[in-house]
């Protein structure tokens, strides 16, 4: 189970409280986690990644295990702590952009 923390404006949009828990089949990467998230919550499509290029929106950031993963390759494996559910995958609105 993958734990995902959304920023508050996207929690309101998706009508969720607290963390989102996702089952991800296959290798757990940023892309596969975001694919699973958007499949569960279609209203989030386009709000985290560009809907066509699937690149991260400029003012969204991805953190885990106190590391900034925003510039990592989308298909790179996520840390074992995220895969095991010990640590959440954080989707964060950048300190600029709002």
């Amino acid at each position: 189970m993958i734990r995902v923390v959304l920023p508050s404006h996207l929690r309101r949009l998706a009508s969720v409280d607290g963390e989102v828990h996702l089952e991800v089949t296959g290798e757990v990467t940023q892309a596969s986690v975001l694919d699973a998230l958007e499949a569960r919550y279609p209203m989030l499509r386009g709000t985290i990644r560009d809907p066509e290029s699937r690149r991260r929106r400029a003012f969204m950031r991805f953190f885990a295990c106190e590391e900034d993963l925003s510039h990592e390759q989308p298909d790179a494996p996520l840390p074992a702590e995220v895969v095991s559910g010990r640590e959440p995958y954080l989707i964060v609105g950048a300190m600029a952009g709002g």
């Binding site: 309101r12 949009l13 386009g46 709000t47 809907p51 929106r57 609105g93 952009g97």
Partner: protein, 371 residues
């Protein structure tokens, strides 16, 4: 009993203001979509319970919301706006070619007849259409691709398509306006377009009467007389009597002819409203006095409307989509300011009162007249 529902988009959410036909006591709901910029909210003329809202943020881009119960509940619908084919380039501020990139929806114009059909005017300037209630969007590429698109340049607020007018009489005729490209007309339901800017003069472009390049801020039409259009341009208030084929200036005795919104009385096609702003660099009313100007002669002769509006120390602006009229017997006029006030007049502008005073900066105001 009759009533009105005022749909207000602000920098940090949407608000819905409702009142009965007397328009004295108001119920305020909101913020809806708190924290997001709401560029526009508009109801379907064919089904007043169906509303569309453009919700955007610097973090998370574009969301379109739809309500099927008059704004009591909302659901996100389609937010993918893909330009048709290879988008190409337009001019950037420095004159270099710049790829067409979708930024946001400025204006939503529901069909006059079909509640599932709605048009969206977007930045970078393009026109999109949905026929499934906003679930999916397709560009009408004839506008961007009619020939002059590669020469369009953004205005200071971005290169936005901000005005969409559907002709209620001639089926298939519609108008669009873009900052800073100008006004355009289609006679075949948006398939093909041509510029309709003859008579406009803009000192801020190399050829002041060029076919395109004018910073049109807003166009308004009265539904009973669709060949007459009123325009607030960057500078100059203009009028066309031939569906945009030619324009003449009607600024007359206005204290300044710079401004953003323009609208027409619901029952008097020659009664027009504007809100003069000091200049292109001073986006606030002259002398700190908030004055709506009304012409009862279709332009040229204007009178200031001040009763109930602040007449000192007022330095707010009124954006292009932030004025609207209701169609009750005594026409109501409404506008919102960058200072977060929404003013209403139940008597066609003779007297004004704030409905709300402290909202976030108001981006848009629309009104539904409810029976």
């Amino acid at each position: 009993m009759s009533g009105v529902r005022v749909l207000v988009g602000t920098r940090k959410g949407a608000f819905v203001l409702t009142a009965d036909g007397s328009r004295q006591n108001w119920d305020v709901s909101g913020p809806h979509f708190s924290g997001w910029e709401i560029y526009h909210v508009k109801g379907s003329p064919a089904d007043p319970d169906r509303l569309f809202a453009s919700q955007t943020s610097g973090w998370s881009g574009q969301v379109i919301q739809r309500s099927d119960d008059g704004g009591k509940s909302w659901q996100p619908v389609g937010n993918q706006f893909s330009y048709d084919g290879v988008p190409g380039t337009h001019q950037w501020y420095d004159g270099t070619p710049h790829p067409w990139e979708f930024e946001r929806v400025w204006h939503l114009e529901p069909s006059l007849a079909d509640p599932d059909t709605v048009y969206a005017g977007v930045e970078d300037a393009g026109l999109f259409k949905s026929t499934d209630g906003g679930d999916s969007w397709q560009e009408l590429p004839g506008l961007r691709g009619h020939g002059s698109g590669s020469s369009w340049q953004p205005g200071a607020g971005g290169m936005c398509l901000h005005t969409i007018i559907l002709d209620p009489v001639r089926s298939g005729r519609m108008f669009a306006a873009i900052s800073a490209a100008g006004a355009f007309r289609s006679d075949d339901a948006g398939q093909t377009w041509r510029p309709v800017n003859r008579g406009l003069k803009s000192e801020g472009i190399p050829d002041p009467d060029a076919e395109v390049g004018h910073c049109v801020h807003r166009i308004a039409m009265h539904p009973s007389r669709p060949d007459v259009l009123y325009m607030q341009k960057h500078w100059d208030v203009m009028r066309s009597d031939d569906a945009g084929e030619s324009w003449r200036e009607i600024s007359g005795n206005l204290p300044t002819d710079f401004g953003f919104p323009i609208d027409v009385h619901a029952h008097e096609p020659d009664t027009v409203y504007v809100v003069p702003i000091t200049s292109d660099s001073l986006h606030y009313p002259p002398d700190g006095k908030l004055r709506v100007y009304r012409s009862r002669t279709g332009g040229d002769e204007w009178e200031p409307l001040t009763n109930g509006l602040p007449q000192e120390h007022c330095y707010v602006n009124v954006y292009r989509d932030a004025m609207a009229v209701d169609s009750l017997d005594s026409c109501g006029v409404y506008f919102g300011t960058t200072g977060g006030q929404v003013y209403g007049s139940p008597d066609a502008g003779d007297t004004w009162a704030p409905i709300v005073r402290n909202l976030p900066a108001v981006l848009s105001v629309e009104v539904q007249t409810l029976s």
